[in-house]
Amino acid sequence: MGLADCHFNILKSLGLRIFQAVLTVLGASVLIWSLLPLTPGDPALRLLEAQGIVAPLPQEIEAVRHDWGMDRPLPVQYFQWLKRILHGDFSTSFQSGKPVLNELGKRLPCTLMLAGIALAIALFISISAALIAASYEEQWPDHLIRALTQISATVPSFLMGLLILYLVVLKFNRGQIISGGQFRHVWLPALCLGIGRSASWTQLLRANLLEMLSKRYTLVAKGRGATRLRVLLKYALPNAAIPFLTAVGVGIGTLLGGAPIIEVIFSWPGTGNFVVESIAARDMPVIQGFVMISTIIYIVMSFLVDTLSELMDSRIRIKGGV
């Protein structure tokens, strides 16, 4: 296969992936839009209730229905909604009356900070733990790390959060329960999220490293006199990293969507916390906007991960043209 063919294949599969991603976003948008008409009860009535109007007059309901376009046929409503979304208009929150995008945007920096630090912690823990476990295979450091990953895969993140909260904040008086989203308070929730993520990542990377270490090319490297560390880092790690990075990419997608449970436990003022409040208040535009944005982030991340791993791994590239 010539180099030109190879480039053509990459472009073709890239185009195909973009097309698939756009279709998926469109499909998801239909599902997410349909949340509003599917909600039991009259949406106009709920909108008024959310604004604190208890017993609205029929004319008032009619007026709201007309203003929000709820009196038109459903497909028309969908395309109007999609058009507004494409212009960045996610309509206004039932509760506060402010644009949903502003409300979410206000809380996004907090979620991004939490996700970023959590990701850094998870990457640090999983890469170092997997390297240690793989280089001491079937010795005590490996057994210890495997036992720890097994345990932390069994402890749900909210339980971990509550334990950390109890031990660190209440027993040792470090950190704070109520945080205003400042940088110095991000460590505990980030640690919690990071530990939760790192368990499966460690298991994955360890397994891949061991697989690479059993391959012949690493044996050749050893035979040529490379040190154990060099074989591990220079020969095994790059190839073992590809499936690991795929998992990490998908993990970033979910992290950026907000971690409602951890945000609630540490009263972290991010988007996840906000959406839980909105669910309790049945503030549909906020829920729709949040779900739509998280979904787009998630799909874009999956797309990036697929493309990146294709570029990195020639085996997928050749097959990926189809």
Binding site: L31, V155, P156, F158
Partner: protein, 293 residues
Amino acid sequence: MNNKYNSLNFVQKNTGKIVRRTLFTKFWGIRSGRAGLILALFLLTVVSIGPVFVEDDPNAINLENKLARPSTNHWFGTDNFGRDQLARVLVGGRTSLGAALIVMGCILIISLTVGIAAGMAGGIIDMLLMRFVDVLLALPSLIVALAIVGVLGVGLHNMMMAIIISSWAYYARLTRSYVINARQRQDIIADRLAGISWPRIVTGHILPGVFSQVIIILTLHLGGIIIDIAGLSFLGLGIQPPMAEWGAMLSGSRLYFARMPWLLIIPGTAIFLSVATANLIGNALRSASSTEG
């Protein structure tokens, strides 16, 4: 053929007796499988008949006796409303574990139905169903569950429905691929040649194999279902007060952990044990089935 015979049955070393190796005997032969099964029986027995032996009403508020330490009257102490923790953790277990098993059963039924329909019908029905499944799979499942609870409103049944809707798609796709594989099997082709109708082939020859394959993968996910139920209940999106549920118990008393760590430890241990049990059984089932015949 001889090989196949040997892998299904093995000759016991000392007695020379031939023992048939079923999935269960292999499962029982794995240490974690035995431990998981015993733990599961223990947990299910305790939460199903346990509440009968506890006289305290799990929802009875007694403010004079709130945040009591464990004693002979209240083995696990009382919470911030003076409710007996033992009674609540047992009754809450019925909710948590019962809900998890029901969710698992519903996912199994839906995904088997959709997967078999798609795999057997083929053509346009298959394409439409699988495109729908693809879109669902492309969405982050926690976000989907939150959105559905947002639409339906909070409550135990709505939350269970949300978890079912956000997680059936993967198993439907799995079922479909098993069905498509099974259709090309020699025994199925032989059935066709013998003139057996498709409905009979599906129920008699395809379903049993597909069923066991899907249920093994689903058991690996049972721990995740238990965590999802407890997590969403913790957020207040599941069962509503004063009813007990492990996640809801944790969120209800989280301001009092400093004075009463029991309020954290007991429901927390219950959740941990259940998830660990589910994982033990799931992993053992997977190993048992992967070494089968």
